[in-house]
C-alpha cells in the first residue's frame, strides 16, 4: 500500500502520522513545496512578537525527526504539479534542482492548505508589504522589522489574524493602525460584541479605521503610505494584508476532484473526495456545519488536525469519520479573549429558526478572589424549544472555558434550562456558585 500526502503542515502531517499508526507496513510519502514541515501557523504572531522566542518553537518537527519517528518519506521543496486521478499517479518538480518525477499511489491525501488573498492593488509589490502564512513569511516580517526599524505598521483586515498581529506589532513598540472594510472589527461577530473588542483595541493604543478599505499603496521602493478608498492617507513603514485566505484547490480541481461553492474541495464524513481513494483535509477542504448540515469552509488548525487524523486512518485501511464543525474560533486580543461558536443570529434566522439573542455580563470567578474579570456572553437561542444554537464570549481569563462549555452545549442541543442544570465545577478561584454559563441559561430562560 502506497499513501501519498501533498502538504506537510497541520493536516498533512496529522494524516501521515495517523496513517502510520494505523498501518505499519504502508509506504508513506509526503510532498511539501516549502522548506518547513509541521509548523504551528497559529503561533506565528507570537513568534513575530517574541512571546514565543525561537523559530525552533513553532516548527514542531524537522523533516528528519518526522521521518524517523513515523517512518515516512518527507520530500521538502517538492511541488506537486499534477494529479492523474485515473492512473493514480502524481507528478512533481523538485524545486531545488528542477527535476521532475512521478509517484504512483494507492491512496492520496490532499492537504495543500490555503493562501492569503492579495488583490492587485496599485503598489502591492512595494517592499515591506506582507501577508502572513508560512514560517518563511514570518521570518520576512521579523527581518523587515529589525532591518528597517519599523515604527508604524498598518494592518489591512480586522479578522483574527489581523487583530493578533495588532497585538504582536504593539508589543514590538510600533504604532499600529488597523483598516477594515466592514464597519466593525471581527465581521463574523455581532456588532455589540465586536464593540467591546474595538474599545479594548483603542485603550491599547491601536488606531481603527472602519468602513474603509485600501485603495493603493505609495512609496519609493518601500511602502511609505497606505491610501484608503475614502482618500485617507496613513503613513506606514510596514503593511500587513490579512483580508482572508483562499483554498489551494486548483491542483485538485484540474484532476477532476469536485470543488464546492466555497472554493474548497468537497469531502464526505470520511474526508474522501468524489474520487475514491483520494482524500482532502485541512485548509483546502470543506467541512460540514453540524448545525445546518451544510458544506462550509472554515479553515482552522483544530479542524485541520482532526481531518488529517481521520483521513490518515481511512487511507491506511481504517474506518473513521469526522462529523463536522461548529465553526468554533477563539483568539486573544491583548487582554481580551474573543471567541465564537455555532450560528450567529443572521445564520440562525436564515435556517428558519425563530432566534433570540441573549446577552449577559458575568464574572470569571468569585469577586473576592484576586483576578476577577468580566465575561460577556451572548447566546443565540431557538425560541421554539429554548435550544442554544450559537454563542459569543468576550472577556478576561476564563472566557475560553465558557466558549468550550457552550460548544459542548450546542453540540448536544442543550436548552437554556439545561445550561442552568448542568453541574459545573465551583470554587472561588474558578467560577461563581452560579457559573457564567448558568447565568446565561437563567436569563435566556426568562427572556424566551
Amino acid at each position: 500500500m502506497k499513501i501519498a500526502v501533498i502538504g506537510a503542515v497541520a493536516a498533512g502531517t496529522s494524516a501521515a502520522a495517523k496513517a502510520r499508526r494505523t498501518n505499519k507496513d504502508a509506504e508513506i510519502v509526503i510532498f511539501e513545496k516549502g522548506r518547513d514541515i509541521s509548523y504551528a501557523g497559529c503561533g506565528l504572531p507570537y513568534y513575530i512578537s517574541g512571546v514565543t522566542p525561537s523559530r525552533y518553537n513553532v516548527v514542531m518537527n524537522t523533516a528528519q525527526d518526522f521521518e524517523e519517528k513515523y517512518k515516512v518519506d518527507v520530500r521538502l521543496e517538492h511541488e506537486v504539479t499534477e494529479i492523474d486521478s485515473d492512473e493514480k499517479i502524481l507528478y512533481y518538480q523538485n524545486l531545488v534542482n528542477g527535476k521532475e518525477g512521478g509517484y504512483e499511489f494507492d491512496k492520496l491525501i490532499i492537504a495543500t492548505g490555503a493562501a492569503p488573498i492579495k488583490p492587485p492593488f496599485e503598489g502591492i509589490d512595494l517592499e515591506n508589504i506582507f501577508t502572513l502564512r508560512s514560517v518563511e513569511s514570518a521570518d520576512q516580517i521579523k527581518d523587515a522589522v529589525k532591518r528597517d526599524d519599523v515604527k508604524r505598521a498598518v494592518i489591512i483586515g480586522a479578522g483574527l489574524i489581523g487583530l493578533e498581529m495588532a497585538e504582536s506589532f504593539s508589543e514590538l513598540g510600533m504604532d499600529v493602525t488597523v483598516i477594515e472594510l466592514e464597519d466593525q472589527v471581527l465581521p463574523p461577530f455581532s456588532k455589540e460584541m465586536a464593540g467591546l473588542v474595538e474599545d479594548h483595541l483603542k485603550e491599547k493604543g491601536v488606531e481603527l479605521i472602519l468602513g474603509d478599505g485600501v485603495d493603493h499603496f505609495e512609496g519609493e521602493g518601500k511602502v511609505a503610505k497606505v491610501v484608503t478608498g475614502s482618500g485617507r492617507e496613513i503613513e506606514a513603514d510596514l503593511a500587513l494584508l490579512s483580508i482572508g485566505v483562499k483554498a489551494n484547490s486548483k491542483l485538485a480541481e484540474a484532476a477532476g476532484i469536485e470543488v464546492g461553492d466555497t472554493g474548497a474541495i468537497k469531502v464526505n464524513e470520511k474526508l474522501e473526495t468524489n474520487i475514491k481513494g483520494i482524500y482532502a483535509v485541512g485548509d483546502c477542504a470543506e467541512s460540514k456545519d453540524l448545525l445546518t448540515n451544510k458544506d462550509v469552509w472554515v479553515p482552522l488548525g483544530s479542524t485541520a488536525n482532526k481531518q488529517g487524523r481521520t483521513a490518515g486512518e481511512n487511507a491506511a485501511g481504517g474506518e473513521a469519520k469526522h462529523y463536522g464543525i461548529l465553526k468554533t474560533g477563539i483568539t486573544k486580543v491583548f487582554d481580551l479573549t474573543v471567541a465564537k461558536t455555532g450560528l450567529d443570529l443572521e445564520e440562525a434566522e436564515a435556517e428558519g429558526i425563530n432566534a433570540a439573542a441573549v446577552k449577559v455580563k458575568a464574572h470569571n470567578h468569585a469577586s473576592y478572589y484576586p483576578g476577577t474579570d468580566d465575561i460577556h456572553l451572548r447566546g443565540i437561542f431557538d425560541r421554539k424549544n429554548g435550544v442554544i444554537v450559537g454563542a459569543e464570549v468576550i472577556g478576561g481569563d476564563g472566557s475560553d472555558k465558557r466558549i468550550d462549555v457552550l460548544a459542548a452545549a450546542i453540540y448536544n442541543r442543550m436548552t437554556a434550562n439545561e445550561l442552568f442544570q448542568v453541574d459545573l465545577a465551583y470554587a472561588p478561584p474558578f467560577s461563581g456558585p452560579k457559573d457564567a454559563v448558568a447565568i446565561l441559561g437563567m436569563v435566556a430562560e426568562k427572556k424566551l
Copy 2:
C-alpha cells in the same frame, strides 16, 4: 402569602431572593441563628490566608442591604426551635434577649446547612482546636493565629477544605502537617490521581501522615500536641478538624419531615419535602445523582445556590425544577487544580457498568506559548457504548475548563468518539489543536 426561610447563607438567601423576584407581594421572613448572612463559605480559606483581604469581601450582603434590596425581613440571631408542620407555625428564640415567638407561614424553606463533625476526642476542648464553617469560626482562627504566633498547624482530614487550609496556613508561614485516616489524600479521588496531589503537597513543604487518625489531643489550656492512633506525636500550636460535615436535619426530622439514609432531608425535583409546601435546600438537603438516579448528599455551594433558587421560585408560586447533580467538585491546592465529576470506577461498577478508566497527560495549551503546564485527565467510560460517566482532572491552569467540558459531556452522555468530534476552541494561548479533552476521547476510543 407568607414565606419563611430558615437559614441565611447561600441556599437560604438564594431562595429568598428568587421568591421575591417571583412574587412581588409575598411576605418573606428569614430566620438566621448566626450574626452574618449570605457569606461565602467557600471563600473562608482565602479570608484566613489574607488572599481575600477583608471580612467585608466574604460577607456578600449585610442583613440591611439584603432587606432593602429584596424587601425581605431578616431576623439575625433568631434560632428556630420547632416546626409545627400541621399548623404551619415555626417557633423561634431570639438569642440576644431570650424571647420566644412563633411565625405562621404558608410556605417554608429549610436551609439549615451542615455542621462540622467534631468527635469526642480526649482533649478536643483545648484552646486552638478549630473547625471551619462560619465567618465567625474563620475569625476565631485568624485571631488565634495572630495572638499566639502560630508556627505549627496540624490539619485533620485531607478533603477539599483540609487541603485548602493546608495552602492557607502555609501562606501564613506555618509548618503544616495533614493527617488523613485513609491511605491517600482526597479519598473520593482515585489513588493514582490523588498521588499527584500528594507529591505536590510534599513539594510545597506540607507533611502528610496517611492511614492514621487522631487518638487524642494534649496540652495545658491550649493544644500542644496531636497524638495519632499509631502513637505518633505531632507538636501543634493549632489544630483544625476538617473530617467532614453532617446535615442539620434534626429540626426537620422532629417535625415529621423525612430524612434520607444520607442523614439529609429528602426532597423531590421541586425541592419539596414529604410535606407539601415545605422545601429543603442546600447543605441540609439531598439531591439526585443524575447518573444513578439515586438520592445523594454532596453539600456544595453551587448546588446550594441552584436548589435555593429553585425552591424560592416554587414557594412563591412558580414552577421550577432542579434535576440533580453530577457531584462535580473542584479545588485549588497550591498550584494544582484538582477536580472531579460524575462516577468513579467503583461507583460505575456498583451500577453494573462494565467500566474502564483511561488516563492521559496533555498540555493546557500550545507548548510554544508561555505558561504551558501539564493536565492529567482520567475518564471513566462504559465499555458497552463508549459513554463517559466520570472524570478527574488534575493539573495547572486550564484544568477547570476541562472538568467543565467533561461535566457537560457526562450530562449529555457523550461517547469517547464525541469527545474527539466536539469542536472546541483552539488558539495557542488556550489549548492545543487537539484539546486535552479530545486526546482523552481518542485514547479512550482506542482502548475500549
